[in-house]
Amino acid sequence: MPHAFPLFPVQASSAAPGVDQLFYFLIAVSVFFSALIFLLIFYFAIKYRRRSKDEAPPKNQVTNSIQLEVLWTVIPMVLVAVMYFWGADIFVRDARPPRNATEVFVVGKQWMWQIEHTNGKREINALHIPVDQPIKLTMTSQDVIHDFSVPAFRMKNDVLPDRYTTEWFKATRTGKFHLFCDQYCGMGHSLMRGWVYVMKPEDYERWLRSDVTGITMADQGETLYHNLGCITCHGTGKGPAFAGLYGKPVKLSDGQTVVANDAYLRESILYPTAQIVNGYSPIMPTFKGQVSEDQVLQLIAYIKSLGSTESNTGAP
């Protein structure tokens, strides 16, 4: 940051200019109406000041005007309608991650950010991403509610325990940007911050491949799949098979159909009896307490990696 006293934050994402434009519009409306009210008050206050102590109250007072009331009801209505639709439009677009986004996984805990890339690379309180490429964060918390906020990207979302929330952005300039926890999370809240490093694609590739064991998240998930004994049921037909499962509709025993997304898989690992797949019995024990949030993410990554195969066997 070259200026010691900036008035506006840097625009470093594809969403930032849109948000800022709307912000400027809001400022323009606000300045106009504040100035109008202030000037009128000053003008009236000086023009109609009481000139002597015993000045009689004014005669023939105007106390009503339907035209004026309608005017200052309708004009604000129109303006706020513009604000609403403009804001809603950007918001809805920001809620839809593009299909080609690179996935990164975030686990918040008191008071640090744990970040894992799909190739197994981990970092703490730092997020390295390539420029000009959409990034989708899948976030969860191990304890209280946190919030993953990157002001330069004009983007934030709360990070909740026992649930996945997402946010996505496309960085448009390289550099180092603040990462804050914006939802008060206890003693170390103001220390729960870090940096987002936006890199040129080639630098990013180099970074991603350095110091990495070569074991991807999906690999780690596969190891867990064997070690935790998932394979004894899900590999033998006693439990539903994983191949080709991800993103597909699943028919449940209570007749409902759900999509096998991150949230569904997570719930099935931790609370297996909540949603029973049609035709199977509720025999799976819970893995709550046995696997950490990042291990759940690894298991999901593993199941996801089996996504495209249409085979009916268990493990590949």
């Binding site: 008035l7 202030f38 009236f44 206050a45 109609y48 109250p57 026992d162 008060y184």
Partner: protein
């Protein structure tokens, strides 16, 4: 009006202040005026308490690494500042002090409908307040005033129970007050005082009471659930049992957003009185101001979800709540325009209450307009939980509610105490408060848009300059608040006698002596005209 009794000096006349002496005559009183004064003393105490916490916070933020205290202590400071200021100062401020004092007098009644419940509500309030104070003295509470789960239920090891119990209990004081006011306004009006002859302060208090009645029970039960979860280690909002932390946020904000209108609506009522009295003009658009109060109270219940746009709430709910939040801006805008229009062709004078009123209109305009930023989904996604929000709600709660409260206290002080305060000092204080306030909170808008998160004990160095400016402003603001405290207390003994109507204002409260006799009026007044009849000379209200 000029009955010979009023002409007597204050000391030689029996009025509500000297009708009984001794601590018992106060602690067991059922006189709404005395209860109002007891509230005044209590909330002033809580205000000082919350103010000290704020001062320490601002001092700490002088340095990016924290000047005074550890983050742990800072967290306790802002939590206590929030809890004390919201629940024990702002919410009871105008309703419990000025509302109690004025409502029966403004409607020509001898007292409120249930005087003993009224006294009870003060005791309930004090019980809650003392519990909250206990929480501070015993070591503090660090959840913020929002008590979000699971931080408050499972992770915080501070005195959450005591603080939550304090807020829970104080809530019943609000409920009793609201009940009392609604029944009083419905059933105790003087002959001839129809709904559209009521002062706008009464309309505002009526709207406020609706929120007290329908909202407060919900915060009570939400905090009770937090307490039970914490106490028995059961999981009402615990995601591990399938509970939903967002459900707590819904229930919390169902009350706590309307609670913001509990703070601002009474101030709006006060401003309507002040603007007319000091421009000697009938209010512009009486019906629009009256109904916009009711509209704000009603729509105010539909907008709570804008505190949760980025909380993991469904985006569809976000879209609905955003639209509803914009809707509540309209009645607020109507009020501001009508007040401004009231000044047109008035006969405007600038005693201290009027300075507060004009300050209120300006600051509320800024506060209200910045609220639009937060109702706008995409912008909120950037500024949510930053200093932008802090600045916005301080413009509403301090620039709005507290300015209105101080304006009201100054305006009705001659009625309360029977004496005048030094107007010169009061004007100086009003200007100092206005300047100090803007200097404190305007930089926080910029900080917020730059991305500085709220509730940060330490912060990145690039936010340093603006934080120093803000702290400098806070010291001016703090000074501004001390001055009225001094001269108002001074005036109680040494101020010149005010007489029944020092401002030559309309309204039933000005037709009786200052300070009023215990039963307010020598004879029940009969009302024969519309309020704010400044177009005719004052003192036209006929006493039968």
């Amino acid at each position: 009006m000029s009955s010979p009794e009023v002409e007597l000096p204050i000391e030689s006349r029996v009025h509500y202040l000297n009708a009984g002496y001794g601590i018992k005559s106060w602690l067991l009183t059922t006189d709404h005026k005395r209860i109002g004064l007891m509230y005044l003393v209590s909330i002033t105490f809580f205000f000082c308490f919350g103010g000290i916490a704020a001062t320490l916070m601002r001092l700490n933020l002088l340095e990016p690494q924290g000047l005074l205290v550890e983050p742990e202590t800072y967290n306790k400071l802002f939590s206590m500042h929030g809890i004390i200021m919201v629940f024990f100062f702002l919410i009871p401020s105008i309703p419990a002090v000025l509302g109690n004092f004025l409502i029966p007098m403004m409607i020509g009644a001898r007292d409120v409908a249930f005087p003993r419940l009224n006294l009870l509500s003060w005791y309930v309030f004090m019980t809650g307040g003392l519990l909250a104070l206990y929480a501070v003295i015993a070591g503090g509470v660090d959840t913020g005033w929002t008590f979000y789960t699971p931080l408050s239920t499972a992770y915080s090891n501070t005195h959450v129970m005591a603080a939550a119990a304090g807020v829970f209990i104080a809530g019943f004081s609000s409920i009793l007050t609201g009940m009392n006011f609604v029944v009083t306004i419905h059933k105790m009006r003087a002959p001839g005082l129809s709904w559209f002859r009521l002062p706008l302060f009464i309309w505002a208090m009526y709207a406020t009471s609706i929120i007290f009645i329908l909202g407060t029970p919900v915060i009570a039960i939400s905090l009770a659930l937090v307490g039970l979860e914490r106490w028995f280690h059961v999981g009402i909002f615990d995601p591990a049992l399938g509970g939903d932390p967002l459900l707590f946020q819904h229930m919390f904000w169902f009350y706590s957003h309307p609670a913001v209108y509990v703070m601002i609506l009474p101030s709006m009522g006060v401003i309507s009185e002040l603007v007319t009295a000091f421009s000697k003009k009938k209010i512009f658009g009486y019906h629009f101001i009256a109904f916009s109060s009711i509209a704000i109270a009603a729509i105010g219940f539909l907008v709570w979800g804008h505190h949760m746009f980025i909380s993991g709430q469904s985006i569809y709910a976000g879209l609905v709540f955003s639209a509803l939040s914009f809707a509540v801006a309209i009645p607020s805008a109507i009020k501001v325009f009508n007040w401004t229009a009231t000044l047109y062709k008035g006969s405007i004078s600038y005693e201290a209450p009027m300075l507060y009123a004009l300050g209120f209109i300006g600051l509320f305009t800024i506060g209200g307009l910045t609220g639009l930023f937060l109702a706008t989904l995409a912008v909120d996604q950037h500024v949510h939980d930053t200093y932008f929000v802090v600045a916005h709600f301080h413009y509403i709660m301090v620039g709005g509610a507290v300015m209105g409260y101080l304006g009201g206290i100054h305006y009705w002080w001659p009625k309360i105490s029977g004496r005048l305060y030094p107007d010169g000092w009061a004007r100086v204080a009003a200007i100092i408060i206005f300047v100090g306030f803007n200097l404190t909170f305007f930089p926080q808008f910029i900080l917020g848009y730059l991305g500085m998160p709220r509730r940060y004990a330490v912060y990145p160095a690039e936010f340093h300059t603006l934080n120093v400016v803000s702290t400098a402003g806070a010291s001016i603001l703090g000074l501004g608040y001390v001055i009225p405290l001094v001269y108002l207390i001074w005036s109680m003994r040494y101020g010149p006698e005010a007489g029944p109507n020092p401002w030559h204002a309309t309204g039933l409260e000005w037709t009786t002596a200052s300070p009023p006799p215990t039963h307010n009026f020598e004879e029940t007044p009969v009302v024969t005209e519309e309020p704010y009849a400044y177009d005719r000379l004052a003192e036209e209200i006929q006493v039968v």
